[in-house]
Homo-oligomer: 352 residues x 4
Amino acid sequence: MQFASDNTAGISERILKAIAEASNGFAGSYGGDERTRALEARMADLFERDVTIFPVVTGTAANALSMAAIAPPWTGILCSHDAHVMTDECGAAEMFTGGAKLFGIDGRHAKFDADELARRLEAWPGGVPHHVQPAAVSISQVSEFGAVWSVGEVGAIGEVAKRNGLKLHMDGARFANAVAALGCAPADITWRAGVDILSFGATKNGALAAEAIVVFDPDLAASLAYRRMKAGQLLSKGRFLAAQFLAYLEDGHWLELAGHANAKASDLGAAIEAAPNCRLAVPVQANEVFAFIAPSVDRALTEAGAAYHDWPAGIPDPEDPPVDGEKLVRFVCSFQTTGQEVGRFAQVIGTA
Amino acid sequence: MQFASDNTAGISERILKAIAEASNGFAGSYGGDERTRALEARMADLFERDVTIFPVVTGTAANALSMAAIAPPWTGILCSHDAHVMTDECGAAEMFTGGAKLFGIDGRHAKFDADELARRLEAWPGGVPHHVQPAAVSISQVSEFGAVWSVGEVGAIGEVAKRNGLKLHMDGARFANAVAALGCAPADITWRAGVDILSFGATKNGALAAEAIVVFDPDLAASLAYRRMKAGQLLSKGRFLAAQFLAYLEDGHWLELAGHANAKASDLGAAIEAAPNCRLAVPVQANEVFAFIAPSVDRALTEAGAAYHDWPAGIPDPEDPPVDGEKLVRFVCSFQTTGQEVGRFAQVIGTA
Amino acid sequence: MQFASDNTAGISERILKAIAEASNGFAGSYGGDERTRALEARMADLFERDVTIFPVVTGTAANALSMAAIAPPWTGILCSHDAHVMTDECGAAEMFTGGAKLFGIDGRHAKFDADELARRLEAWPGGVPHHVQPAAVSISQVSEFGAVWSVGEVGAIGEVAKRNGLKLHMDGARFANAVAALGCAPADITWRAGVDILSFGATKNGALAAEAIVVFDPDLAASLAYRRMKAGQLLSKGRFLAAQFLAYLEDGHWLELAGHANAKASDLGAAIEAAPNCRLAVPVQANEVFAFIAPSVDRALTEAGAAYHDWPAGIPDPEDPPVDGEKLVRFVCSFQTTGQEVGRFAQVIGTA
Amino acid sequence: MQFASDNTAGISERILKAIAEASNGFAGSYGGDERTRALEARMADLFERDVTIFPVVTGTAANALSMAAIAPPWTGILCSHDAHVMTDECGAAEMFTGGAKLFGIDGRHAKFDADELARRLEAWPGGVPHHVQPAAVSISQVSEFGAVWSVGEVGAIGEVAKRNGLKLHMDGARFANAVAALGCAPADITWRAGVDILSFGATKNGALAAEAIVVFDPDLAASLAYRRMKAGQLLSKGRFLAAQFLAYLEDGHWLELAGHANAKASDLGAAIEAAPNCRLAVPVQANEVFAFIAPSVDRALTEAGAAYHDWPAGIPDPEDPPVDGEKLVRFVCSFQTTGQEVGRFAQVIGTA
């Protein structure tokens, strides 16, 4: 019962095979290879428009480089209080931008309303050099509490951002899970909804280590070739990043993997709803399950060897706090999660 | 005839197999896995002492993070004018350190004498806040012109560094090629010779993407766990970095791969020496061959489809400049280079 | 009726005279002059111990350089949500530290309890590289809502900081006003209470532009000579910074100036308490007066030509919000404020 | 005999008086005062066009902020090997730019030829992300070896910069001395010759501490209001910076002061030429005199109490090195230097 994170899983068979195949023979280095060129075309197809892509190896790098491209040192980036860029990247954005500030916005499930964003921007002391000026908004799709932004929600944020001259970044560490959940075109949830730059993750969903910065606003692409190199994120054997992504995107493999993970999470969520001493903290929409569990459940799961994380940082919904000794925990399903594991989980909590 | 770079090669069979094996099942993320722990022990064995290691994915990241650990923002790092950290990393060290300066030192073959280093340090305006203060020395083993630092040469640099209170960094992007060439213990050419921190590369010698910062001075290790995360260089599926390195180091695989590359370069160098219209610019010591070639040789090789690089930046030895229309070029051999390729190369240049 | 800020005032007569005197003849540059040496001795007397001082020209520079000296790039600094370093310095601390994060703490009057600080530190996910690690605490004396930290309050913060291995910084832009209000020895409210580094401001209290970083922890001083230069804060004609401070500190001039400003603010506060349509938002302790005023008062003051600032950012006390159309405003008195001005102010609001 | 530097002098009478006058009454803070507005108009007059100005307190800040405005983190700035920004500012430019690199160009007297600049730019490996890309050129007027760039020389540099898409910065720490020497309009030697941004110094020529970033390219001005604040260089009592500059520029006071210093340096140079055991290392053009002196002269001057600096860093002209135990030294004259001092100097060296 491995529910600690989707990054405790390995590499999908198809991606592993693609890496092996890419290893044959010689290839141009630093992205000067056929696979990288093919990926550019493949991404353009996927997003139904020209895009510039910058494959990198971690989500933190993708996010921090994206921030640096859209937020000069004296500006601010608005995001959820619980955003990964805010809390889990050791201040990478602050370093890569040269000192920009991140501002947390209130909301439920690590999302926030376009209205709340608009209010914050209206109240901003604009044009006064004492105050960092807002330059960008960042949203995580899937959110840090496992919630999915609908096409309409992203569009509303995009609209407010555009109106205020701000760029919109999407942290898509679990972009596949979101697209699988929404069943929409990738374009609909990104540039058509106002997203200027996307961190498109594959690692959590079956890659070895592959993330791509996808740039929809051509003006933003110019600096990134240099910034990526300067950050030590340009791989000499770039073909292996491209190979992972090509296999990931081929025949909808990425959505298949994500769909599997989402389905298992859905089952796991149903088991929690059916069990006596635990309850969902957030409706399950993708591959993460946040739940309040009683000490007895915690004990039973631990004894049964289940791996999952306590989640002491933040509460998904201020109006729905834990009660009676409940504890907030997170269970994550991956492409590798089996029905058997989820079945056993249901069994354990059903009697705890 | 692929001699453009050792990073145009693929992944060695053993390393590829290790990646596939590591993909089975689940593993702790962010370095909390068994393979990463095993690698720490393996590295301690290899270097005959306790070390702290920080696997990352590029040499630039390994170098820039190492610099950041040893050189505060107001200090300087002395290195060869031709050092990779100086000329080929888009100023990564300047960014990661927060604004330290790199100072080029004169020398032959992208190396420099300990005496020259000592002279520079003596002349430094110490303690004056207008001037950045020297904090570190960086040498590349193998050097950027394919030369290997002997144990004595590194020791002499280490001694000057220590005497002046400076830390010594070794950029070991081709560390395996150097150790294979020297036939010495890794300890002899690193910490026993005064090296405090090493960028230990595997990518150019058969890995997919694997570099390790190896820290010999325990005081330097404290900040690096955070700096690596902040730089977006901590892999979530860290087991795959560890797996690459474990396979790399097992049964002397790394030295076998490097030895092969060195031998091919040696043959290629011999072919150049035997041919009429070209000559070595630097004695061949590892897997790179720098040569002055006449236009006829350049033409013949290009027509034969050989891949290699012009090398317009710098001259290996100021006392031995190109003459009569000669051009400086670089040929690199890798673990993948075949005797057949080198044979054909010899044939082409023999009649050009 | 100039109550916009204490920095709308000019230079005190004694300080102006000292500048003129210092202009005679030649003097060593970059701090190598007699006045700077005399100031070091004078500061040591004032603080009853050895200190290292770094005169600079703005409070932002003093604060940001202090932060850089105590908080490495991967760490965090805890301060009030309303701290000047948090909200009014355009992210200077983030830049000077190389990317450290500031964390706001809840509290009243831009102060916070030692217990609240302790709670935050206990809950911190320590040793995990994803999370920036707390390195320092910063408090503003006087606080941004005009409140003075008592000796005991600072000591309690200092105790929590020390216990957690954190450095304590004091932003003393209005340090004189605090000391004048408390009537304590400068040592009592700084190093004896656990402060490691102080931004000692003189500009707001009668200097042209003079702030001094006062370092109580000798280890922190080493880097600052270089950091100050690198930040463009080392004045070539340093004698003029020293001259300002020497005159400022001579014969208790600084406390006389601050005492005057405090007294005028006290009178102004009393006038507000006596007037019908306004009330104090924070008890007056130093030279700033925060008040809730009715629209009629706002109108009357504006018509009478009074200069003061609306204060839309934050509420001094969450339990005491504005009601019935009240607006939060700030009035500041300086050494230049006259009894006549305050009298007229009282008259205007008395009938508004 | 105070020839150590022009920054060992005090404040000119007129500027001191202007500071005192500005101290009367209240004034808007942070540049929101009448004097600052008047200075903007005055500068526009002086430069015969619209300019945006950012007064700061040190030349290092003016230079580093200018660099930050014209050189993104992944770029390079070309300047003389002996440029102040290269050697004497503790790497401020590297920090303020977020990691840009400075590249030294060969030349005489800390100047360089437009042809040499063009050659360097032609040889640049453009568009390759491994290499920082040239973004700007910086020249110092007066140069660090006391030489003045002619209008034609600046124009030639400006032309090469423009052709290559680079911005041109002028470090005018001794701008007044250059303009006084050239007798040209400030516009002729700046924007008309291709300068985009100027560090206009007043401190070395009679101000307390006043430098202004003068921006000719409007696009560059946008970020500087924020960068200056973030750098802790926006003075709260900005009126005193403006007051210094207004007095400095009034009735040609700046040129009068500089003309005096230049004339004294000219006399001092003539004395050196007339004396037996010393010689000029650089023709005297402004207020600095670089000379090679024999040990006997060094001894005689020291015994007579003369203050001046040894100049071990660099040689003004590689083709004219010191011989026979000569030492390179620097004498600087200021607005405060008297004919009497120079006369005594001539007497001392005449018999040494």
